[in-house]
Subunit: 386 residues, 2 copies
C-alpha cells in the first residue's frame, strides 16, 4: 500500500476551479500533497494546494510536463489534452479517470454510441459530420421534428444544446459535428453519482432529482433523495452502476438520466468527476463526493454513500443584470435560516448566469428543507458593487 | 454590514496549527481572505491561507505588526502576546476574543477567581506565589492532602497539572505561581462549547462527555451527546452560557466541567477558541465549531448547533515508542469502517503522545458509533518509518 498521508506522494489535479477547490478540502484533511494547474492565475485552487502553476490544459506539452511531476493524476474538468494523458499512462503515471474513458466521454457522438454498444438504455440519436448534413436530413425528413441538437464537443452548462422544433431553429447553430436526439417527454431528470476504485470496488450515491422552474427551463433545486418510487430509484442506481462498469471507470462518474412517463430510465450523459448534482453531499452524506473521489482514485476503501439528513442544493449564479465586482446580497439573511450553508467559490467578478457558488440546505425532513430552499432562492442575489 | 465574501476584508489568525488549519476550511468556503502567523515555517496553516508569515506569537512587535494589516484578529492558541492585542484594540482593530478575556483566561489563578467573583460554581482553591509558599502551606496543614496542583500559566494538554497525594509529590514541580485545588471525585468530565457573537447572540452546543481509559488516566473518547440525564445536560449548558456571558466573550468558548457524584456542575477551565472536544462537530453538527467561530467573530448569524447524528472523536497521538517520519499504520483498515473520517494534521514528525490527528466516528446510533470507535482505537497506530 502506498503511504499517501503526510508523505512525499503527490496528486496532480488538472483544473483549478470550484470542483478542484472543494477537492482540496479533502486532500488537506488527509494531508496529501497536491499540484494544480489552471489557465487562470486567480483560480480558486491557487491556494490550499501545495504547488500551483498557470498553464493551458489543452496544450500537450503543458499537461505532459505537469503530469510527469506527480504520482497520480486526476482532473476536475473534461477539457484537457487527452493525448497527453495517454502518453503519461504509457510512462507509468496513474491517470484516473483514464485517457480512454475521457476520450469516449469528450465526444457526445462516441459517448452515445458507447451506450448503444453496451446495451445501456438511452434516447435514439443520429450523428452528423456538420450542420449542413443535419439540415439536409431535416429537409428530406430523414430526421423528424422535434429533436434535440447537440454539438458533439465543447458543450457545457447548456451551451451546445438546442431544442429544434422547426427547420429554421437550426439557423445560426455552430457548424460542428453534432447529433440529433429524440426528444424525451420525461417525468423527472435524475442523477446518480457512482464511485469506482482502481481495484473495482463500486458504490452508488442515492438518486438526486433536478427540480425545474415551473416556466423557465432551468434547474432550480437538486434534491437528495429524489421524490420517486423505490423501484425507480433502484433501477436508476443499477443503470448508473452499469455505465460505470462499462467504462471501467475509476473515480467518480455522475450519470444524468431521464425518468420517462413509463418509468423507464434513459441515460442522458455523464461527467467523469465530482459534479454539481453531488454538492449536497458535503453537508448531507456520510462521505462527501470529493472525499469519495480521492478515495477511489487512490484505491483506498470507499466510504458510506448514505445520507445523514435530507439535502437540497441551490446554485448561486450571477444576476442577469449585473457584471462587475461581486456582492452576495442578503447572505446574512440566508445564514439565519436553519441548516443553510453558503459556499462561495471565490470568483471576484460576477457575470450574468456565471456559477459563483452554491447553497446547501439540510434537514431531517426533506419537505421542510424544500421550503427553506425556496426562501433561500428568493432572498440571496449575486450582484455587482454599485 | 461589512462585505466579507470575496472582498478585500482580511481576517488575521495568530497561530497556524491544526485548529487554524480546520478554521481555514471555513474561510475558504466563504472565500474570506486570511493572514496567518506561526513560529513554524512548516505549520499546517502554511497553505490554504492567503498570506502566511513566520513569527513569534509572544513577541509584542510581531503581533502588533501582524495585527495592523488585518481588519479582524483572532487566535487559535492562547499563548499570544496579550499586550499587543490590547494595543491593537486601542488602534481600532477588532480583536476577538478580546485581550481582556484572554488575560483572565491565560492565568489560572485569575480565571478561578473570576468564577468565584461571578458566582460560577467551581472547585475550591488557593493561590500561591511559588512552590515554596505552597510547600510551606502543606507542611503547616493549611492545605490538606490530596489536592490538584496547577501552574497558573503555561499549562497545556496535561502539562502543568499534577495530583498531589503526599508532600513529596511536590518535589521537582515547576517553581511557578500556582494554585492548589480541591480534588473532585467526579462522575463525568463534560464540556460545552458556547458561541457568542459580537452583538451578543448566544448558542450552546450539546454536552460532550470525555470517556477515560479504565486504568490509564487518559481521555480515550469524546462522545456527543454525553450519556447523561437531560436535567444534568441542561444545567451544564446553562452554566457554560453563564460563563460565556460573564466574560462577555466573543467567539467560541469551550467550557470544561465536572459532574460531581451529587450531579452538581463545577467549571474546571475554559479555552477561548475552537477546541478538541468540538472536533466531532465537523461531521456530526449542522454547523461545525470552526464555521461557528468565524460566524461569531464576524458578527454573522450563528448556525444551528444541533447534531445530525451521534459523533465520537478519538485523538490520534504518536505512539510512545516512536519518533521520526510519521506513518499512519492501518489507516486503510479504519477507512473501511462505517462513518469513519480520519483527519491528518500534517505534522511530518511523530513523537510520543504528540497530537498528530483525530478520527471522527458518526452514526445515527451512538452505541454503535462507540463500538466502531473502539475498533478504530485498536486498529490505527501512529508510528515512524522503520
Amino acid at each position: 500500500m502506498v503511504n499517501y498521508f503526510s508523505s512525499d506522494f503527490k496528486l496532480g489535479i488538472l483544473g483549478g476551479g470550484q470542483l478542484g477547490k472543494m477537492m482540496l478540502y479533502e486532500t488537506r484533511k488527509y494531508d496529501i500533497q497536491t499540484n494544480v494547474v489552471d489557465p487562470n492565475a486567480e483560480a480558486p485552487c491557487r491556494i490550499a494546494c501545495d504547488h500551483f502553476e498557470q498553464g493551458d490544459l489543452m496544450d500537450f506539452e503543458t499537461v505532459l510536463n505537469f503530469g510527469r511531476k506527480v504520482d497520480v493524476l486526476t482532473f476536475e474538468i473534461e477539457g484537457v489534452n487527452v493525448e497527453a494523458l495517454a502518453q503519461l499512462e504509457k510512462e507509468g503515471i496513474k491517470t484516473y479517470p483514464s485517457a480512454d474513458t475521457l476520450k469516449k466521454i469528450q465526444n457526445k457522438g462516441i459517448q452515445k454510441q458507447f451506450y448503444i454498444d453496451n446495451n445501456i438504455p438511452t434516447a435514439a440519436f443520429e450523428r452528423f459530420d456538420n450542420l449542413e448534413a443535419l439540415t439536409e436530413a431535416v429537409k428530406t425528413e430523414k430526421v423528424g421534428l422535434p429533436f434535440v441538437w447537440k454539438s458533439t464537443t465543447g458543450g457545457y452548462d447548456g451551451k451546445g444544446v438546442s431544442v429544434i422544433k422547426k427547420a429554421e431553429d437550426l439557423d445560426g447553430l455552430d457548424d460542428s459535428e453534432c447529433i440529433a436526439e429524440t426528444m424525451i417527454p420525461f417525468k423527472n431528470e435524475l442523477a446518480v453519482i457512482v464511485a469506482r476504485s482502481a481495484s473495482g470496488e463500486v458504490r452508488t450515491y442515492p438518486v438526486v432529482e433536478m427540480e425545474f422552474h415551473p416556466t423557465a427551463n432551468q434547474v432550480e433545486y437538486v434534491l437528495c433523495p429524489a421524490r420517486i418510487d423505490d423501484k425507480v430509484a433502484q433501477k436508476a442506481r443499477a443503470t448508473a452502476k452499469k455505465v460505470s462498469e462499462a467504462f471501467e471507470h475509476v473515480g467518480l462518474l455522475a450519470v444524468e438520466m431521464f425518468q420517462t412517463q413509463e418509468d423507464e430510465i434513459l441515460v442522458n450523459e455523464v461527467a467523469p468527476r465530482p459534479h454539481n448534482s453531488g454538492h449536497y453531499s458535503i453537508e448531507a452524506s456520510y462521505t462527501n463526493q470529493f472525499e469519495q473521489h480521492i478515495r477511489a482514485i487512490l484505491d483506498l476503501p470507499l466510504g458510506n454513500t448514505d445520507s445523514k439528513v435530507g439535502g437540497i442544493m441551490v446554485n448561486l449564479v450571477g444576476d442577469e443584470n449585473h457584471t462587475g465586482e461581486v456582492v452576495y446580497q442578503n447572505i446574512e439573511e440566508i445564514m439565519k435560516m436553519d441548516g443553510v450553508t453558503p459556499h462561495i467559490y471565490g470568483k471576484k467578478i460576477t457575470r450574468p448566469f456565471r456559477k459563483m457558488g452554491h447553497v446547501t440546505i439540510v434537514n431531517k425532513d426533506l419537505a421542510e428543507a424544500r421550503k427553506i430552499a425556496e426562501k433561500v432562492k428568493n432572498s440571496i442575489k449575486v450582484i455587482s458593487k454599485t
